[in-house]
Amino acid sequence: MSYTERIEADALVVGSGIAGLQAALDLADQGYSVAIVEKAPSIGGKMISLSKVFPTLDCASCITTPRMASVSHHPRIRTLTYSTVDAIKREGGTFTAAVTRKPRYIDEKECISCKRCEEVCPVYLPDEYEQGLGAKKTISIPFTNAIPQLPVMHPEHCIRCGACARTCPKDCIEFLQEPAPVEIKAKAVILATGYETTPMTAKKQYGLGELPNVISPMAAERLLAPHGPYGRVLRPSDGKVPGSIAYVQCAGSRDKSIGVPYCSRVCCMYAIKQAILLSGSLPVADITIYYMDIRAFGKGYEQFYNNARAMGINFVKAKVARVTEDADHNPVVRIERQEGTSAPEEVKHDLVVLAQGLVPGCDVSKFGLGAGLNDFGFVQLSDETVSSAVTAGAGVFAAGVVKGPRDIPDSVMDAGSAAMEAASYIRKL
């Protein structure tokens, strides 16, 4: 068994999406020491892979990257990436977290991020950061602005040719590296484990993820990102510039048949945002949003929606019954309009985006910290009218989507609240 690294901090933050980053920064800037544990190889969460944010259309990475850099350089923040929290135990006023650092198969202290290993590696893999649309190598740095800029090797895809080790100028490839245990002691825990989306395979009616031109909204984000997989908006089946794009709203929310009866709160707005961005990238494309209701509830959201309508984006109030495809992989959407004619009709598009719903990213009840969950697996607050961060577990606070679907401004605000509550709790110990 390898040596157990021990870390002591005032607060442990689980997750480093925008909520986790903000909570950690707010605590550290008040003088508290923070340890962040992130399961992915880079901090930044989902937000770092978005193209822009609504309703301002600010560049998402321009907002996230400075926070990522601040966290990684902060003297009072210790960040463990590519690490999992296996268990958290409470003893008196102290939490002890058992963490496993997964092996990257490199010497992290010696690596100079030169990417030579990635250049020479001969094996290409689907790149999950690009939602499988792009390729990466068996050893690769997760994405351009990842922090830390360290490669990860996937041994199950390694053909053991040794090319990476032969080219590494610092001799830091370690094929035999093993998981390393870490123990973190903290006085408070902030849960910021975020969300996952309902799977593309959730609904048989929408193609079970097997239609190449029916994509997820995260894939659409990557298509719109300046450094996306194709460098422009193309459809995945054949690299065609799509002339007709449709959004199927509530494709993973407000649907009891898949166990997600609630509204995911962000789908209307990200669909409108993507539609606006697409109309900028593809000025002659027809863009249609099939919706049940448009929920534009935040500051400036209604104006954003009205702007989209004024730009010529076609909003059709209709529930999509099913999505199929023709022989050329053009998605065919069967709808019944809820306004005007009520006869079902089939409409052909080049590309369809399914607005997936948001589900909890992690079952935090496994930690047994006393933080209750609601019926859908999100963290239940002890009293929402009193605090937006305090859970039923003493010293356990929640930030961001771990409490339920919410947008980026709300997640950032929540994170500030969680940091304040945690600071107040630690001070009283």
Binding site: A135, I159, E174, Y230, L234, S237, D238
Partner: protein, 97 residues
């Protein structure tokens, strides 16, 4: 640069621990190399679209596009400026030989 003897020892130990490289992975890499070579060879004749490259390489169009974007990411091929439903790709300078 890794010491050749040390690297050989590491790889030998890795083979002992994990067994040989699975045949499925070897086949996948062989298919990848063949597809990429076919795409690069087809581009020696001038810029082509993804469906044209798929036809030339005998691949499904989605698979050809995936290999194409991988080669593009790692600097073997580049976009050709222009309009049309299907963008064209070309070999990057120095990749033609």
């Amino acid at each position: 640069m890794a010491d050749a003897k040390k690297l050989a020892e590491q790889l030998k130990k890795l083979n002992e621990l994990r067994g040989p490289v699975p045949q499925a992975l070897r086949d996948q890499v062989a298919a990848q190399n063949k597809a990429q070579k076919a795409i690069l060879d087809a581009l020696k004749g001038g810029p082509k679209t993804a469906p044209e490259l798929a036809a030339a390489a005998g691949l499904p169009a989605d698979k050809a596009l995936w290999y194409l974007v991988g080669l593009r990411k790692y600097g073997k091929i580049a976009d050709v400026a222009g309009r049309g439903d299907y963008p064209k790709y070309e070999l990057k300078a120095g990749e033609a030989k």
